[in-house]
């Protein structure tokens, strides 16, 4: 079994959308999450707050430096993700296909490093 990260990228506009517009997506994702839990593949999942609430700390120099905002300058950041434990990429792509439909965005599938 391999752990896969299924991540969704979103822009700042997505965070600005009104709640009632987002509700159908929340419902679909909630249902999808339940299906994943029932299937026994669930490791972890979560949605992330807006990237402008991020803080970066860099302690590679003489002293730690704290900066406001996300690390990468970008128009899209990871907005949410699932971590599932699955037998192979085809199965992961099937789950990602449903995830993309539920959350209404493209989903990137990426395997974790092995634990051996």
């Amino acid at each position: 079994m391999t752990k896969y990260l299924l991540s969704v990228h979103s822009g700042l506009d997505d965070y600005a959308r009104p709640l009632d517009e987002m509700q159908p997506m929340f419902d679909a994702v909630g249902q999808y999450n339940q299906t994943a839990r029932d299937a026994g593949i669930w490791v972890f999942a979560g949605g992330l707050q807006s990237p402008d609430l991020a803080t970066v700390i860099d302690n590679t120099g003489a002293a730690p430096i704290v900066t406001d905002g996300p690390y990468l300058e970008s128009k899209e950041w990871i907005g949410g993700f699932w971590i599932f434990e699955l037998p192979d990429l085809d199965v992961a792509l099937q789950w990602a296909t449903e995830a993309s439909k539920a959350c209404g965005g493209p989903v990137e599938v990426r395997p974790f490093e092995g634990e051996a």
Binding site: T2, P87, D88, L89, D90, A92, R110, P111, G114, A116
Partner: protein, 412 residues
């Protein structure tokens, strides 16, 4: 035991033919493409050493597979104390029951689907298929696609790493996905064939029979593995009917268009085989099969062409009908361009030119070449000359350039 006058040539030919089978079966057994490839290479070395001395064994493929399997086990035993993963692989192989012979064919089918998986970059799918199923060396594949050997080696290594790390499965897709995934495999084979049929490069020879030959060989394997997939049959027929014309497609370094080819130089055996396959597709359709896909329709078009004793005998109305059907399943401007060529024969060049001018294909050399020919037939020489120039500017294939230059020079 046979004694072979040219044992090295024979060993290499057998090895090349058996390579896909050996790698497929070892990949299944050891769960690792690299181990399978290394072991296959060691089996070749053993054959080169022994066969000239002892003769070629009665079942050379079986000998190579068994030898490769033993070499892989030796290697895993040697390395097992320092590599837990290999140890695990060895344990799996020890636990598994002996595969019946029939499963060997399934292994090769598995390997084709793994090599052509949509999660791999298209150029990596082509390279992996030629390497693992075709047994071509990395150097040969690099040369075929005119990239440096190191680039091709990296491309293949990266693809194999993705297969192993992301766990691209080694199995025939489920029935729900099979159609789409077979289409992906056919696209890879057709790409290999087309690069051989009309090389896109100035540095390569205009027709690369090593690539068309390899594509046909792989299509034959795929058809043997999936006899009930009509598009597989269609693609094989299309390739055979195209390959049948190879010997006369280039003369004196110039591409010879279909209507000028010496039909006596066509390969009658390949044409007969291609026609049989097309008939098989038609029979399947007549007995309630699915609507024919693009490869079957292209094969049927080529069957009509190769059925005509002279160019003047060509049944253009049937060809136009088939292109119309093709356009219905695959509405691309390139299909519309080819349909226009048939319309020129049926309804004259003026009508065809009107069709062609509607297409948004200004970056495609064949669009300009078709326009040039239609303008020439309409006596509009100055415009034809400009169109030949535009076509010449867009193609690097030497034989095609030679043909276009000659036609341009013949304008009044």
């Amino acid at each position: 035991m046979d004694s072979d006058p040219e044992p090295t040539v024979s060993i290499e030919r057998i090895y090349r033919e058996e390579y896909g089978r050996i790698v497929a079966s070892l990949t299944r057994r050891f769960g690792d493409i690299d181990i399978a490839e290394e072991a296959a290479g060691e089996a070749l070395l053993a054959a080169v050493e022994r066969w000239p001395r002892d003769g070629v064994p009665p079942n050379p493929g079986g000998w190579l597979t068994t030898t490769a399997g033993n070499r892989a086990i030796d290697r895993l035993r040697r390395e097992s104390h320092r590599d837990a993963k290999h140890q695990a692989a060895l344990m799996i192989s020890d636990d598994s029951p002996h595969e019946p012979t029939g499963a060997v064919e399934d292994d090769r089918l598995r390997l084709i689907f793994t090599c052509c998986h949509p999660a791999l970059a298209p150029e990596a799918r082509v390279a992996l298929t030629l390497r693992l199923l075709g047994g071509l060396t990395v150097a040969e594949i690099a040369q075929a696609f005119l990239v440096p050997e190191t680039t091709m080696a990296q491309r293949i290594t990266r693809a194999k790493k993705k297969i192993s790390v992301a766990k691209i499965p080694y199995r025939v897709p489920s029935p729900a996905d099979l159609g789409e995934r077979v289409d992906g495999v056919l696209a890879v084979l057709y790409l290999v064939f087309n690069e051989g049929y009309l090389s896109s490069s100035a540095d390569a020879s205009p027709i690369r029979d090593e690539l068309t030959g390899e594509a046909i060989r792989l299509a034959r394997i795929l058809r043997a593995l999936l006899p009930d997939a009509p598009e597989v049959t269609g693609l094989l027929a299309l390739m055979l009917l195209t390959e049948a014309r190879r010997a006369v497609r280039v003369a004196d370094g110039q591409l010879v268009p279909l209507h000028e080819q010496d039909r006596g130089g066509w390969d009658r055996d390949l044409i007969a085989e291609g026609h049989d396959l097309v008939r098989e597709c038609l029979a399947l359709r007549a007995s309630g099969g699915a609507r024919p896909g693009p490869y079957q329709l292209l094969a049927a078009i080529n069957a009509v062409h190769t059925d005509a004793p002279t160019a003047a005998d060509t049944d253009w109305s049937q060809i136009a009908t088939l292109y119309a059907q093709l356009y219905a399943v695959s509405p691309s401007p390139i299909v519309a361009l080819n349909r226009a060529v048939a319309i020129a024969e049926l309804d004259g060049p003026a009508l065809a030119l009107a069709e062609v001018d509607r297409l948004d294909l200004a970056t495609y050399h064949a669009w300009h070449a078709t326009r040039a020919d239609l303008l020439r037939r309409l006596g509009r020489s100055a415009e034809a000359r400009a169109a030949y120039d535009a076509a010449l500017a867009l193609t690097d294939n030497e034989a095609e350039r030679a043909y276009l230059s000659r036609r341009r020079g013949q304008l009044g």
